[in-house]
């Protein structure tokens, strides 16, 4: 906002910037915890999977790509490694909400489990996310992700 004073100087008044919810630290950390919990994977959850599910929650369009992939309709899928997700992962890691296993995959710590339990208990909280993740975070197995990556190699070789 610009105010013009008598002496003809121009003053700029700083206003706070809005932050889209997807770039809220608190929201993203919670989302990651929820993704790991609802994946119900015994061997932990890989970073790629977290990235894919987080992308799917960005918009309906992104969600449809993932749905097609998990239903086996299309292998036409590009994994986007979102730096903000990586940053949120780091915060969650150091905040002792999640633990990185020796196989590089992630699982929830006790504190993380307690946190997710609280989120799950509140039925009015993160309704959209829970609905989507309940179905697709289980369908998107690590196997599917591995196959996707193998396909990249073939495609890469074919292109050369």
């Amino acid at each position: 906002m610009i105010e013009i004073r008598d002496n003809n100087d121009v003053d700029f008044t700083q206003r706070p910037n809005p932050i889209p919810y997807n770039y809220r630290l608190s929201y993203k950390v919670s989302q990651i915890c929820l993704i790991i919990k609802l994946s119900v994977a015994r061997g932990g959850v890989s970073m790629t999977k977290i990235q894919m599910l987080a992308s799917a929650l960005l918009s309906d369009k992104e969600a449809k790509l993932l749905v097609d992939l998990t239903n086996g309709f299309s292998w036409n899928y590009l994994v986007r490694y979102d730096p903000t997700v990586i940053r949120a992962l780091k915060y969650a890691l150091f905040d002792d909400l999640i633990i990185q296993q020796d196989n590089q995959k992630y699982r929830l710590s006790d504190r993380g489990k307690e946190f997710v339990r609280k989120i799950e208990n509140d039925e009015m909280l993160m309704i959209r996310e829970k609905k989507f993740l309940n179905t697709y975070s289980r369908k998107l197995t690590e196997n599917v992700i591995d196959m996707l990556m193998v396909k990249w190699r073939y495609d890469d070789a074919n292109n050369k």
């Binding site: 809005p18 770039y23 630290l25 608190s26 919670s30 905040d95 946190f115 609280k118 959209r128």
Partner: protein, 678 residues
């Protein structure tokens, strides 16, 4: 009317029953003692307590009771433990005697309970009359059927007004607030007007209490004003929508409406004649003329033989014209179609955006909750701290530049809501546009199809055998009949709407009349009269009590804004000595009673002064106070608690002893009671 007939206090000890039991009279009552610590206030406490007004003392329940009710009681040099205690207060409401019982210390009875006996104390003690339990100072005890103050309100015949609360809602005025203006307690009561008034969430309680006691119509007036405002808005909107309806109906048949005012007005038979339907053509004919014109045209067509004679050329000219018209109409339709698609697109995109914002809002609400959940279990990032270095961090995953300020979640929610409002506003506008274009388009499409059908008939006629029936003529006739029918319907509906306008106008006239009947300022004539009377009483009282600050009594006024005495527009407290201040409170409290008695106000008729001789009031003034109270008519009750600290007071009291009830307390107020059975 509320008169205390008798007070009985019972305190059970191992030594037997102790207590106090004395009757009270109508009019003036004294409770006197030679020493200050002999329990006058304890007796007054019993009255407060039994009426459920302990908040005026400054506490809840039995906490306000003195030591004698709860711990130990003295008899000579021996102290006994108090086992149980309770107070009976016999009240008279003008028609009926009831007794209130409330326990002070008791293992078995809640102190929130007050038992009401339908009889005097003797009957109550022997349990020989019907009784009912009420609760007090709990939620809804002022409005619930089993609330004591609800009972008391009905029993005293008070009708408490509904008053605005601080939080914007409305509630009944509380009895406690009203009685804070007439029960002047020893410790807090002498500090200021209504100084014992508890805060119960009522907005401007002092003003409301004053208005209620004197029975001012101001509150009712304010209600009436807001009601009138609602009526005005309602009438305006009904007028407006009726006008819109008729305009739209007329537009469909290509008519204009004139003579209907934009806003409600008083319309009489003459001005309804001015309301006209006019054909939106070149000549601006009236609807009657148009209908007549159509009838004539139809008749002419009937006269014409529906045969094609040698009018080939005419037909050709007509066809050309019709085709030209239809071309023009086609152009119009296509422009309208373009516009409507544009509007529809805008509406779609706005609705999509609003949906996104809704989603955003929901997620922001979620984020706010998540943050609380997280910080509950001690997650550092949710508290705005870095989990590693414990410095404060922004709640953002974007690369943070320290010189940028980021919105907090609260701000963000507000920001989104504002955006949503803006979008919704635009959406409404576009929807309105869409609606109006659509009506235009419907009309244009209809006209187009009429023109096309006409052209088709004309073309058919051109290629027909000469003796055939002319399709054009028949078609024209049918169209004309249809149009005439529609216009007749419109004209009828217009007439019926005119009648509704007349009705609305009558309501408007009534509204204007009611509005003019209201006084322009906030006080009705009656109210002004009452305020003047109060002011006069107040000043007379002051003069009688020898208010001594160097003031002219004539400069004193009662402020119409606060209803408190003012001197040259300032609170008179600032310019008076301590003893004067006591006189002012005497004068004010009594003036309330005097004015209410004279002007038919709502004063319950009970005044209690505990130790009115504060701050070195001289004896002469105290006598003036007694005389002043005595001079007020006897349909009320005053209880004065006084310490006799000089012989002069004693002599004065002796004069009053003949006519008035004086309860003399010796060294202790609570004595051993001889049990009734003995």
């Amino acid at each position: 009317m509320l008169i205390i007939n008798r007070v009985r206090i019972e305190i059970d000890t191992i030594d037997g029953k102790y207590g106090f039991d004395k009757p009270f009279d109508k009019g003036l009552n004294f409770i006197v003692s030679t020493e200050n610590t002999s329990g006058k206030s304890s007796i007054l406490l019993a009255i407060y307590y039994a009426l459920g007004f302990e908040q005026l003392i400054g506490g809840h329940g039995s906490k306000i009771l003195s030591r004698a009710y709860k711990k130990k009681i003295k008899n000579g040099d021996v102290e006994y433990n108090v086992l149980e205690s309770g107070v009976y207060v016999e009240i008279f409401n003008g028609t009926q005697i009831n007794t209130l019982y409330r326990s002070g210390k008791s293992e078995s009875r809640e102190s929130k309970l007050i038992t009401v006996y339908q009889g005097d104390i003797t009957q109550a003690c022997t349990n020989s009359c019907s009784r009912k339990d009420y609760y007090v100072n709990m939620q809804n005890s002022a409005t619930n059927e089993y609330g004591f103050h609800h009972y008391l309100e009905r029993s005293l015949g008070l009708e408490l007004p509904i008053v605005p609360q601080q939080n914007g809602s409305e509630r009944k005025l509380y009895l406690q607030l009203i009685f804070s203006a007439m029960l002047i307690e020893q410790k807090r009561g002498w500090a200021d007007f209504y100084s014992a008034m508890p805060n119960l969430g009522v907005k401007d309680p002092k003003k409301r209490v004053f208005e209620y006691i004197l029975g001012l119509e101001k509150l009712a007036l304010a209600k009436k004003k807001s009601e009138l405002k609602n009526r005005e808005a309602n009438l305006k909107s009904r007028w407006h929508s009726l006008r819109e309806d008729i305009l739209l109906e007329a537009k469909k048949e290509k008519f204009l409406v004139v003579g209907i005012p934009l806003k409600p007005e008083i319309v009489d038979a003459n001005s309804t004649k001015g309301m006209k339907l006019i054909y939106a053509g070149q000549d601006e004919e009236l609807v009657e003329d148009v209908i007549e014109g159509f009838s004539n045209e139809i008749n002419q067509l009937n006269i014409l033989k529906p045969k094609i004679v040698d009018n080939f050329e005419e037909l050709e000219v007509e066809l050309r014209e019709t085709e030209f018209e239809s071309e023009k109409m086609q152009e119009k339709v296509s422009i309208l179609n373009k516009n409507i698609i544009k509007e529809q697109n805008k509406i779609n995109s706005l609705e999509y955006n609003i949906q996104i914002i809704d989603n955003d809002l929901q997620t922001n609400y979620d984020a706010r909750k998540l943050k609380n959940l997280g910080s509950d279990i001690g997650v550092a990032t949710m508290d705005g701290n870095c989990p590693l270095c414990h410095q404060s961090i922004e709640d953002s995953l974007l690369s943070t530049n320290a010189s940028y300020l980021n919105m907090s979640i609260e701000d963000n929610i507000r920001h989104l809501k504002a955006q949503k409002n803006a979008l919704e506003y635009t959406l409404v506008n576009h929807k309105n546009n869409h609606e109006s274009i659509k009506t235009d388009l419907d009309i244009a499409n209809e006209n187009l199809s009429i023109l096309r059908r006409l052209a088709k008939s004309l073309r058919n006629d051109l290629y027909k055998v000469d003796d055939d029936v002319s399709e054009t003529l028949i078609y024209k006739r049918i169209e004309l009949e249809k149009k005439k029918e529609n216009i007749l319907v419109l004209s009828e509906s217009f007439d019926s709407k005119k009648a509704i306008f007349r009705e609305l106008s009558d309501e408007w006239r009534e509204y204007l009349n009611d509005k003019d009947n209201l006084p322009t300022d906030d006080f009705s004539e009656n109210d002004k009269d009452k305020l003047n009377e109060f002011e006069r009483n107040f000043i007379d009282n002051l003069e009688m009590f020898r208010f001594s600050s160097e003031l002219e009594y004539k400069d004193l006024t009662i402020s119409p804004l606060t209803y408190l005495p003012e001197m040259d527009g300032f609170d008179m407290k600032f310019d008076s000595s301590a003893s004067d201040h006591i006189r002012v409170i005497w004068a004010f409290t009594l003036a309330l009673l005097q004015t209410s008695l004279k002007k038919d106000g709502n004063h319950p008729g009970l005044v209690i002064f505990d130790e009115p001789a504060q701050h070195s009031i001289v004896l002469q003034d105290l006598v003036a106070l007694f005389k002043c109270i005595k001079s007020i008519s006897s349909d009320y009750q005053t209880i004065l608690a006084i310490t006799i600290n000089s012989n002069e007071i004693n002599e004065v009291l002796n004069e009053f002893r003949k006519e008035h009830n004086i309860i003399q307390l010796d060294d202790m107020a609570f004595k051993k009671i001889q049990s009734d059975e003995e």
